[in-house]
Symmetry: C2
Subunit: 528 residues, 2 copies
């Protein structure tokens, strides 16, 4: 069967089940809440004055009924600095557990070390928003029998609430915790800020273990994770290296090209009709996106515009805008540098939020649905404005869905920023390798060679033309790019599906096919 973007989706996949094809950003959600059921959270009952403290992570895991086929979940707030996920899988491996479903809110280069556990059958299925590095390569080269499932941040909450992901054991890294499991990421030696992605795991997992490298006197405040969800607590030496949170995609660019694009994007936003008192704003991670905030800030000061809320992955740049009074509040589901933590802790209007409130489509109003302007990146964008943030130009998995489709679908103005090409590789092109966010959710594309407006928004196009911006047809831009780069050779892919890209409503928007990589060479790197 084909989905509404014309992509062939299998009806059924062994180990996953029946698939539902994507039919449009709001088609399924328009059916409203009559469509699906949630799954009941677990009943637990503990004895008064029960001691939750375990001496070691091993002890805690042993108390949590480890078994073959179990689903284990993690959050990725420590990003490249996370130690706990690999440590947990090592322990489960030593216990002889096989056939684990790994359900992490995302996976980073810190998780390259999972490759051997995919090879030896300890992990056989993965749900994640992002996959990168060697792990992305191994999966692209076909290391797993069952395709990985890529979800958005909002989609993950929906999947847990509807029982598509049933977590047996949630291991929650926290930078401060007390003996009952009240815990936070906002202070302690490994502070990482918001712990927004882990809250849904705490609510739904059959067993919840809070792990911390800083035990504090009862009660730990703020209780970002609350004791009534926590089965066991472990104090370990270190949960990870918080200095590695701010790396790669979370740093503001210094590239002149990206800065030029960011400035153009800020101009487009300012002239869009959405740049008004009370507007709300989010910038995604990576490339030019973060830099846009700096240029928007300048214009807000100049025009004396005061915004409502900032949303999403939060950097120090956004915290400064809050402190300057340019925005009334920040809603923080993920902090992109450790410095943000003290703001969460001390500023009432820097509000830590669960990912369900951030982006889950299945509730009475997630924050992304209230967003005015979002700026997002792209690895590729096609002439229908469909965006790929998941696979590289060689077809290999090396990105993350994140909040891309969540915010794009909710915002009044979705701006995608990217260079039109890089080196010899086109970024604006006729057809992208994979689609994460459907073109219907994108309003504007900003490149160094001009700005393209989605044909659904003629009034917006007119406004930007009137403002004197360089507005171009996206088809023309793609042709121009191809003149520079030459026509890229079509990727030679194998038939096997190694990944499913789930849209936020649970339908399948795309499949990721196996690439012709050398698994054996990869195994050699790991001595396996």
């Amino acid at each position: 069967m084909k989905n509404s973007l014309g992509i062939e989706i299998p009806e059924y996949i062994e180990g996953i089940g029946n698939l539902e094809p994507f039919q449009g950003a709001w088609t399924k959600l328009n059916k409203g809440w009559m469509g699906e059921q949630t799954t009941p959270p677990p009943v637990k009952a503990s004895q008064p004055h029960f001691n939750k403290m375990c001496e070691t992570l091993e002890e805690a895991i042993l108390k949590c009924n480890p078994h073959n086929g179990m689903t284990v979940s993690f959050h990725h707030h420590l990003r490249g600095g996370d130690y706990l996920l690999i440590r947990t899988i090592e322990i489960l491996d030593k216990l002889g557990i096989k056939d684990i479903t790994l359900a992490s809110s995302s996976l980073t280069t810190a998780h390259d070390g999972l490759v051997p556990y995919l090879k030896n059958g300890v992990i056989t299925k993965i749900f994640s928003s992002g996959i990168r590095g060697k792990l992305g390569e191994a999966i692209s080269y076909g290391i797993l029998k069952t395709p990985v499932i890529i979800h958005s941040h909002g989609g993950r909450v929906r999947a847990i609430q509807t029982g598509k992901i049933r977590i047996d054991l949630a291991i929650i890294a926290t930078s401060a915790a007390d003996v009952e499991g009240n815990a936070t990421g906002s202070h302690g030696k490994s502070a990482f800020g918001s712990i927004g992605y882990a809250m849904i795991d705490a609510w739904y997992a059959a067993r919840v273990v809070v792990v911390s490298d800083s035990m504090v006197e009862y009660p730990c405040v703020p209780p970002s994770i609350r004791q009534n969800y926590v089965d066991y607590v472990v104090n370990i030496d270190t949960i990870g290296d918080a200095s590695k949170i701010a790396s790669g995609t979370t740093r503001i660019t210094k590239s002149p090209l990206d800065l030029r694009i960011a400035q153009l994007a800020a101009e487009a936003i300012v002239k869009s009709g959405h740049f008004n008192n009370g507007f709300s704003f989010q910038v995604g991670a990576g490339g030019a996106s973060l830099a846009v905030a700096k240029f928007v800030r300048k214009e807000m000061v100049k025009q004396n515009i005061k915004g409502s809320f900032l949303l999403g992955g939060v950097t120090s740049v956004l915290v400064e805008m809050l402190e300057e009074g340019l925005f009334k509040s920040i809603f923080d589901v993920q902090s992109f540098d450790a410095a943000v933590s003290s703001s969460i802790l001390n500023n009432t209007y820097h509000i830590e939020i669960p990912s369900g409130l951030y982006a889950n489509p299945y509730n009475c109003g997630c924050m992304t649905n209230k967003l005015d302007v979002v700026v997002l990146g792209a690895l590729e964008i096609d002439t229908d404005f469909n965006v790929n943030v998941m696979t590289g130009n060689d077809g290999t998995i090396r990105g993350a869905s994140g909040g891309h489709s969540d915010t794009a679908s909710g915002a009044q103005l979705t701006v995608v920023v990217c260079p039109s090409f890089r080196g010899r590789i086109p970024i604006v092109k006729k057809e992208v390798h994979n689609i994460v966010t459907p073109g219907e959710s994108v309003d504007v594309l900003v490149t160094e060679r001009g700005i393209c407006v989605h044909p659904n928004r003629p009034e917006l196009e007119a406004r930007l033309i009137e403002a004197g911006l360089n507005i171009r047809k996206i088809e023309d831009l793609a042709v121009e790019v191809e003149r520079f780069t030459g026509t890229p050779k079509p990727l030679e892919l194998l038939d096997k599906i190694v990944g499913l890209i789930e849209y936020r409503d649970g339908t399948i928007i795309d499949v990721i096919k196996q690439t012709k990589g050398d698994l054996e060479a990869l195994y050699e790197e790991f001595n396996i």
Copy 2:
């Protein structure tokens, strides 16, 4: 069938279903979480930038699918000052809705006006922690066909989570709210403090309406109720009269008798072995209970004892102890005077908590399970230490279960304070009219005529004797009391069951029988 206290419990009641007899405070809960299922919270999906604001409460209710047989829920944080419950029922009545199940966290004298709606079939079933005034009389005299169900605060959360109470519409009074339904009780002209009882309603109700008399700029902080649970928002003139929160049972006594008992109780606590650095403490509402805090405070200062947390219904007296540094934190599920609100708002260690975290037995650790010392009142207590806080000496419903059995079962030291008799009416007696809290959960009874220790706690009794306190056998005390009061005539009750007293685990600990009151006379008072 008989429950473990020897009380005859029907196996089935029309309109309610099969009943499970009480078998001991921890018998059912010891089976752990394998015993029962929770019910799934609703799936909702709203459109981006959907406008939740309604012009009137009528409009909001009409949008929420009102229908015969529906369950409507409320919280009772405004206690005697609540306006919204009656207003809502009036609207539903005008819409012609019948056969409503009323599920309020409690009912007060503010709800006397419900009597006509019980007579005319608008309301046919009630779940509540407490019932008082004319409403209690009407129910005791048999106005309803189906018995009311009395639950504890923790039991209410359990009942909602397990689907025994299925809320179709939750009407949530808030003292400040924004257009998306983020809302709180901690500021605004009708500030009432913690909104802890309403959080479970927000999570589980099919439709949620936030009502406020003070709309604030987005976002309302703290978001005690969060927008992702809220369907509609209504701004009305007034939600109630917050000055009526602090009345009756929530004021500190000035009676010399009660003060004497409170002082004795404080002495017993101080000598109990539980009065140590890091101890946690709760005092219930009413009579001598609140006064105990004052005497305990004095001794803490004298002995330089620093406690861990204060729990429960919170008064200014407790806030002062927090501010003095006598306790590290307050966990606040309900504020007993409006002055507490500013502390919730401004003190990080004054933590507003949902009633599930407070007392729900079906989770990984409610606060009552971590409690060291609790002081509770009693309308009657029998020689097995079973406590009645529900029905008066004439058998009429005039009290509340509240957190009585929740805290009694969890605390290391449960102290019940009451006079041994009042006027010609014995309070310590051979047999109580109704049981809310089983004697096994009570450790010490403190009266003006001496202190009785539960036979399960011989080591505690020895400690108190050694401390020179006047320790007596409860049987002897009851005999002595009867010498003063004379043997009370047994109550003449009718066979009809008008109320079921549910223990926190959902089993039935007692039934309330119809009393010989004159319903017709009551109807005349209401001109119905």
